[in-house]
Symmetry: C2
Subunit: 110 residues, 2 copies
C-alpha cells in the first residue's frame, strides 16, 4: 500500500475530472501545493472545518471511484509489467530497440 | 469511430460499475442480450417510453464519463501499440518469446 499522500496524489490524478471545481481546488492546494487547511480556508473565505469536511468527503469519493474502476491498481500492475518488459528487451540489445520505442509509447499513455 | 452498438458495448464494459443497478439491467438486456424496448418494459412492468428514456440518459452518461476519463480512447490506442509491438517481437523469433509473454499479460489487464 502506498503512503497516504502519494496514494491521494495518484487517485486525484486519475479521477479529478469527476470532481466539482471546488473539490478540485481544495484537493489540488492541499495535496499538490501543500497548503494547510487554515490557508485554504482563508483563501476561500470559509471555515477551516468546512475545508476539512470537503477534503475528507472528496478523499472518500476518490476511494469509491477506485473501488469501482481500479484505474490506480491496473496502472501499478501495468507499470510493473512494463518495467519487466523493458528489462527483457534490453537483453536483446539492438534487436529490441524498435520494440522498446513502442513500449515507451505505451508507458506514456497512462 | 466505432459503430454505435459496438461503441456502447465498450463504454458499458468500461463504466458499468458507475451506473445504478436499474441502468445496468436495462443496458445489459438491450445491448448485450439484444432485447427490444418492449420486451424490457414487459420484464420490468414499466412503459416502453420509460425504458427508452432511461437508456437514452444512460447512453449520455456513458459518453460523459468517456469525455472525462477517456478509458475507451486510451484502450484503443494501447491495443494499437500492443499489436505493433507483437509484430515487432515476432520478427525476433525465439529471442522475443519471453517479451511476448509479458506483452500478453499487459493485454489481459485491460
Amino acid at each position: 500500500m502506498l503512503e497516504k499522500t502519494t496514494r491521494m496524489n495518484y487517485l486525484f490524478d486519475f479521477y479529478q475530472s469527476l470532481l466539482t471545481p471546488k473539490q478540485r481546488s481544495y484537493m489540488s492546494l492541499y495535496y499538490l501545493d501543500d497548503y494547510s487547511l487554515g490557508e485554504i480556508a482563508e483563501e476561500f473565505g470559509v471555515s477551516r472545518q468546512a475545508v476539512y469536511d470537503n477534503i475528507k468527503r472528496t478523499e472518500a469519493m476518490l476511494e469509491e471511484y477506485e473501488e469501482k474502476l481500479l484505474l490506480l491498481a491496473k496502472f501499478q500492475e501495468r507499470q510493473r509489467l512494463i518495467a519487466e518488459l523493458k528489462k527483457e528487451l534490453s537483453k536483446s540489445g539492438h534487436a529490441g530497440a524498435e520494440a522498446l520505442t513502442i513500449v515507451e509509447a505505451i508507458e506514456k499513455l497512462e
